[in-house]
C-alpha cells in the first residue's frame, strides 16, 4: 500500500536554484520504509540541494537544476515491487538517471529494466560482483548503462573484512593467549553474502604461513535476512566454542543479532559486516545491547577518509540529525554524475557514459576510479572503507590504523586515518576466555 501511495507522491523536488526551468530528473531507488532507503534518499537530497544552491549543472550554455524522484523499491520484501517502481519511474516520472538500489536479488531485475530503457543507473548500495561483472564486460552494449559507486564489490568487502578479522584474531593471540582463534560465520541468506562466506571459510582455516588467518572455522549459520530471533544460532555458536563471530548482515536481522548477542552476553567478539550497526540509532535500536559490535563501514565520527568526508558528515548531521549510512553514498553518486555531465558537455547517454568511464573523483568515501566493469577500484589509494566499532556510545573507527597493505614490497607503507582507535574485545568475552 505504501509503495502505491509513494507512486502517487513520487515527484518530490528539491529547491530550485532560480535558473531556467530545465531539470535533470534523478530517480533515487531504495527501500524507503527502511533505514537503508531513508539514507539513500537523504544522501541524494543533500547532494541535490548543494548542487542546485551552487548554480546547478551547466551544459552547453544551459543550466539545469536537479530534481529528485523517490522510487520506493520495497526491496526488503520479495516480490515485483522493485521492478514496477523502476519502470514507473522511467515511464511515468520520466527520470533521466537512476541512483541507489540495495538488495542484489532485486537489483539484478531493476538494472535489467534500466538497460531496457537505456537509462544510466549508478548503483549506491548493492555489493554483489555479478551486478556488473559478467554483464558490463561480457555484453557491453546491453549493460554499459550500469556503474557502481558504493560499496566496493563483494570480493573487496570480503578482503577488507578479512584484514580486519586478521587484526582481531591477532589481538586474541596477544591479549588472551589463544593461538588458534575459532571463528563462526553468521551470514544472512542473500546472494551478496555468499562470496564473502566462501572466501572467509577458506581463509580462516589457512595457516598464517601461507597468508591465511591461522584459525579454525567452527561453522556457518545462514539465517533469513528477516529473521526475528537469533538465540538458537547464537547458542549453537557458543556451543561450537567460537571466540569470534563474523557477521554478514545488510538487513534488519543485524539489529536482532545485536540485541540477542549483547542481551545474552554470548562470549564471542562480533565483527564483520552489519549495515544496521553503521546507523546512528544502533544503540537505541538494540536497547544498548549492541555496544562493542563492529562492522565494515564507510563513515565514523571524526575520521576523515578524504578532505570531503568530515564536511559531508557535518552537513548531513546538521540536515538530518544523524550519521550517514553507507547507502547515503547516493551523495557521491550524484556528484559523480554531475561531474560527468559537465565533462561530457551533453546530456546524451553515450557521452555521459564515456565521461563516467573516465571518472577520477575524490568523494567522501575515497578516490573513485572505475575499472572496465564500471566498478570502483579498491585499495589504499582508492576505496578501503573503515572498520567501525561501537565504543563508549559512539561508532569509532578501528581500521585502517596501522595497516601495511604490502609489507613485502613496501614495508614502510602504512595506512591509517587520523581519529582511529584500537579495537576492543568486549569485556564479557575477555572475562570468559581469560586463562582458558
Amino acid at each position: 500500500m505504501r509503495s502505491l501511495i509513494c507512486s502517487f507522491l513520487l515527484a518530490v523536488s528539491v529547491f530550485a536554484v532560480g535558473v531556467s526551468g530545465q531539470v535533470i530528473r534523478i530517480g533515487v531507488v531504495g527501500p524507503m520504509a527502511y533505514i537503508q532507503g531513508k539514507h539513500h534518499w537523504q544522501g541524494a537530497v543533500l547532494a541535490a540541494e548543494e548542487i542546485n544552491a551552487a548554480g546547478g549543472i551547466t551544459v552547453g550554455g544551459r543550466t539545469y537544476r536537479i530534481e529528485l524522484v523517490q522510487v520506493d523499491s520495497n526491496e526488503m520484501q520479495p516480490g515485483p515491487d522493485a521492478v514496477t517502481a523502476v519502470e514507473r519511474a522511467i515511464t511515468v516520472s520520466k527520470v533521466d538517471f537512476l541512483v541507489g538500489g540495495f538488495r542484489t536479488e532485486a537489483m539484478l531485475a531493476m538494472t535489467e529494466v534500466a538497460c531496457d530503457y537505456k537509462k544510466i543507473f549508478l548503483i549506491a548500495g548493492a555489493a554483489e560482483n555479478k551486478l556488473l561483472e559478467g554483464r558490463v564486460d561480457k555484453n557491453y552494449n546491453r549493460y554499459k548503462y550500469l556503474f557502481r559507486v558504493t560499496p566496493a564489490r563483494s570480493t573487496y568487502l570480503a578482503q577488507a573484512a578479512f584484514i580486519q578479522l586478521r587484526e582481531v584474531m591477532d589481538l586474541f593471540r596477544r591479549e588472551l593467549g589463544i593461538a588458534e582463534p575459532r571463528v563462526a560465520i553468521l551470514a544472512e541468506q542473500a546472494e551478496w553474502a555468499t562470496p564473502i562466506v566462501t572466501f572467509l571459510t577458506l581463509q580462516v582455516n589457512a595457516p598464517l604461513a601461507v597468508g591465511g588467518l591461522g584459525g579454525r572455522h567452527v561453522g556457518t549459520w545462514r539465517p533469513s535476512a528477516l529473521a526475528t530471533s537469533l538465540t538458537a544460532e547464537l547458542t549453537a555458536i557458543e556451543r561450537a566454542g567460537a571466540h569470534i563471530v563474523f557477521t554478514v548482515f545488510s538487513g534488519p536481522v543485524g539489529v536482532v543479532f545485536g540485541r540477542d548477542w549483547g542481551r545474552l552476553q554470548i562470549p564471542v567478539a562480533a565483527l564483520g559486516i552489519n549495515v544496521e550497526a553503521q546507523a546512528q540509532g544502533w544503540l537505541e535500536a538494540t536497547g544498548g545491547y549492541g555496544a562493542y559490535a563492529a562492522t565494515v563501514g564507510i563513515y565514523a565520527d571524526g575520521v576523515a577518509v578524504t578532505p570531503q568526508t568530515l564536511p559531508f558528515i557535518e552537513a548531513y548531521r546538521a540536515r538530518f540529525g544523524e550519521l550517514p549510512l553507507y547507502t547515503a553514498g547516493t551523495y557521491d553518486a550524484i556528484y559523480i554524475l554531475a561531474d560527468a555531465i559537465r565533462r561530457a558537455g551533453s546530456l546524451g547517454t553515450d557521452a555521459v557514459i564515456a565521461a563516467l568511464e573516465a571518472t577520477d573523483y575524490v568523494g567522501t568515501i575515497g578516490r573513485i576510479v572505475l575499472d572496465k566493469t564500471h566498478d570502483p577500484l579498491w585499495g589504499p589509494e582508492h576505496l578501503t572503507g573503515l572498520g567501525v566499532q561501537w565504543q563508549d556510545g559512539a561508532p569509532r573507527a578501528f581500521w585502517p590504523r596501522e595497516w601495511r597493505p604490502d609489507p613485502g614490497n613496501r614495508p614502510d607503507f602504512v595506512v591509517g586515518f587520523p581519529g582511529t582507535v584500537p579495537y576492543q574485545i568486549p569485556p564479557w568475552v575477555v572475562v570468559h576466555w581469560q586463562g582458558k
Binding site: 500500500m1 505504501r2 520504509a33 527502511y34 533505514i35 544472512e188 541468506q189 561453522g219 556457518t220 549459520w221 545462514r222 539465517p223 533469513s224 528477516l226 529473521a227 526475528t228 530471533s229 538465540t231 538458537a232 544460532e233 547458542t235 549453537a236 557458543e238 556451543r239 534488519p252 539489529v255 536482532v256 540485541r259 542481551r263 545474552l264 552476553q265 554470548i266 544496521e276 540509532g281 537505541e284 535500536a285 538494540t286 536497547g287
Partner: protein
C-alpha cells in the same frame, strides 16, 4: 547438543505458544478466523513502547497497554467483524484488512524504524549450560499460566459453559436464551487480552516494527492448524512442535537455518497427510 536443543526449543515454544493461545481460543472456541490477531500483539508492543517512552513505569505501562488493546480490539470487532460475523470468507478478508490498517497506522505514527521495548525481566540465566534470557523464561511461565487460566474459565465457569455452548451450536444456544453476540464479544475480548499479554511478553524479544505481525501470523496459523482446529491444547502443542522443528534445523543444518520456518511448515504438511484433521482436531471435541 541435546541439552541445547531441549532448552532452546522449550524457550521458543513459550514464545510461540503465547502467540498461538489467543488465536487458538478465538478460532477454536469463538469460530472466528481473526487474521488481525497478531496485529493486536503488535499494537500492544507499540503501546508499551510509547508509554514507557512517555515516562511510565513498566507495570503501569503494561496494564494500560493491555486494557487499551482489549478496548480498541473490541471497538474494531464491533465495527468490522460483527456485522459480517456469519460470512466466514468476509471475516477473513475483513480481519486481514484490519491488520493492514493497523500496520499502516503504526507506520505513520512510529515510522518503520526498528524500535526497542525494554524487557520487564532483563538479564539471563544458565539452564543446563544454555544461556536463557529472563524474559524468555517469563514468557514461558506466562504461556503456561495463560493456558491454565483459559482452560479454567472454559471448563469451570458458567461463562465458559456459555462459550462452549455457543461454539457448539449458536442457534440452539440462542434459543436457550443466551446472548450469543455478547458471548462472542467476550471471547474476542479474551483473545485481544491474550494478544496484548503476548505483546508484553514477546515484544522485548523481537524488534518492534510495522511488519512484525506477519511472521507470527504464519506461525500461529500453522500451530493452530497443526494442533487441530478447535483444540486449545492442540494449538499449544502445535506451537511446541514448530518451535522444536525450527531449533532442530538451526542445530543440525546450520547452513540452512534460513529454512527453519519452511521446514516447520513442511512438518505441518506432513502431519496433514497422515492426519488431515490435525493432531487433536477431532479427538477432543469437548474443548470446543
Amino acid at each position: 547438543m541435546i541439552a541445547d536443543i531441549l532448552v532452546s526449543g522449550l524457550v521458543r515454544s513459550g514464545v510461540y505458544a503465547m502467540l498461538a493461545l489467543g488465536f487458538g481460543l478465538v478460532f477454536g472456541v469463538g469460530r472466528i478466523l481473526n487474521l488481525a490477531h497478531t496485529a493486536f500483539y503488535m499494537l500492544a508492543a507499540y503501546a508499551i513502547f510509547a508509554l514507557v517512552g512517555g515516562g511510565l513505569g513498566m507495570p503501569l505501562a503494561a496494564l494500560l497497554a493491555t486494557l487499551a488493546v482489549a478496548g480498541i480490539g473490541l471497538v474494531l470487532y464491533k465495527l468490522f467483524v460483527e456485522p459480517v460475523r456469519e460470512l466466514e470468507a468476509t471475516v477473513l478478508l475483513s480481519t486481514l484488512a484490519l491488520a493492514v490498517l493497523i500496520q499502516e497506522v503504526c507506520h505513520v505514527l512510529f515510522t518503520a524504524d526498528l524500535l526497542f521495548v525494554p524487557p520487564a525481566f532483563p538479564g539471563y540465566t544458565s539452564l543446563a549450560g544454555v544461556r536463557v534470557g529472563h524474559q524468555e523464561v517469563a514468557t514461558l511461565v506466562l504461556a503456561v499460566l495463560s493456558l491454565i487460566g483459559v482452560r479454567f474459565v472454559l471448563a469451570r465457569t458458567r461463562l465458559g459453559l456459555a462459550i462452549r455452548a455457543c461454539a457448539q451450536d449458536r442457534e440452539v444456544a440462542n434459543l436457550m436464551g443466551m446472548n450469543v453476540n455478547r458471548v462472542t464479544a467476550i471471547v474476542m475480548a479474551l483473545g485481544f487480552l491474550l494478544a496484548a499479554l503476548a505483546g508484553l511478553a514477546v515484544a522485548p524479544l523481537y524488534p518492534v516494527e510495522p511488519r512484525m505481525w506477519t511472521h507470527p501470523l504464519v506461525i500461529v496459523l500453522a500451530a493452530v492448524v497443526l494442533g487441530g482446529l478447535g483444540s486449545l491444547k492442540g494449538s499449544v502443542i502445535g506451537a511446541v512442535i514448530l518451535a522444536f522443528a525450527e531449533v532442530l534445523v538451526v542445530f543440525l543444518v546450520p547452513g540452512g537455518s534460513y529454512l527453519r520456518t519452511a521446514v516447520a511448515l513442511l512438518i505441518m504438511v506432513g502431519v496433514f497427510l497422515l492426519r488431515p484433521e490435525g493432531l487433536f482436531g477431532a479427538g477432543i471435541p469437548e474443548e470446543r
